[in-house]
Amino acid sequence: MNGVHDVGGMQCFGAVLPEENEPVFHAEWEKRVFGTMCLAMIDGHFNVDELRHAIEHIAPAEYCAVPYYGKWLRGMEDRLIAHGVITREELERKWAEVQGKGAAA
């Protein structure tokens, strides 16, 4: 599929900015996304091709704006719901809970 992910040959994204002494992860949440993703794939909930497919279906404006592990997170949620490991309702309840909006909502 051609889509926003297929960026090879575009020249609108500016200079490449290498970072000196770059850490493996830039934030704690990135680590959790990475580790959870690896386990989800090791446990066979979905494979890397499905994940990429899900990431490639993120809406174009969002795809460009969201950081790398944010795309992984969206792709992972999508696949876990698709395979019935979790439901959207359960995830929404958790979203409310972690934001202090009440677990019982």
Binding site: F13, E19, V24, F34, G35, Y68, L73, V85, W95, E97
Partner: protein
């Protein structure tokens, strides 16, 4: 999903990614399908145990052992397995050799494919839209962003990775390194030299 669903989701979804992954992790733990200690273990492996040091050992061996070099270029996957480097995102490894006449550079234009067992996780710039988009159309300019000027008489080859094939560049052995041991040579091999956005360091 309808546009109504989109709006609905946007009103609920945590704006902070830290909260969003916390929600998912907590849900998976509750359902008994995720062990948080196993997540910690995987993070530790990729933060501390797997990294470009592995690839550097492969390169140093190829510089000092002509038979290994031949095997590496003929069948990268089998050769790196001899050294015990296998695992996720390293299922099929192809080594490409820099020479006097050719400089190789690796990208994944579609996302971020990278030989994890040899180089660890990719740096942020490798996954950036800027690198993915530009290195295939103006590689010499992109290499200059890294401070690397490739002479005009040298061919630049760009290799686009995919989820089946991961590339590693075999950099040129630096001049003046003839007397160094394999371990000392490995110290000269940088991550960038194995992606192709750099060259091996000169001996001190």
């Amino acid at each position: 999903m309808s546009s109504h669903d989109h709006e609905h989701e946007h009103s609920l979804v945590p704006s902070e990614p830290a909260l969003r992954i916390k929600a998912l992790e907590s849900l998976l733990v509750e359902k008994g399908v995720l062990d948080p200690a196993a997540v910690d273990e995987i993070i530790d492996v990729f933060e501390h145990r797997v990294g470009p040091r592995n690839g550097a050992l492969v390169v140093a061996k190829a510089w000092t052992d002509p038979e290994f070099r031949k095997r590496l270029l003929a069948d990268g996957t089998a050769a790196v397995r001899e050294l015990g480097f296998l695992g996720m995102q390293g299922e099929e490894v192809v080594a490409v050799e820099n020479t006097q006449n050719v400089h190789n550079v690796v990208v994944c234009t579609l996302c971020s494919c990278y030989p994890w067992p040899l180089l660890g996780l990719p740096p942020a710039w490798y996954k950036s839209l800027a690198y993915r988009s530009r290195v295939v159309i103006e590689p010499r300019k992109v290499l200059e962003d890294f401070g690397l000027k490739v002479s005009d008489d040298k061919e630049v080859r760009v290799w686009d990775s995919n989820s089946e094939v991961r590339y590693i560049v075999l950099p040129e052995r630096p001049a003046g390194s003839e007397t160094l041991s394999e371990a000392e040579l490995a110290e000269l091999v940088t991550r960038e030299s194995m992606i192709g956005t750099g060259v091996a360091k000169a001996p001190a």
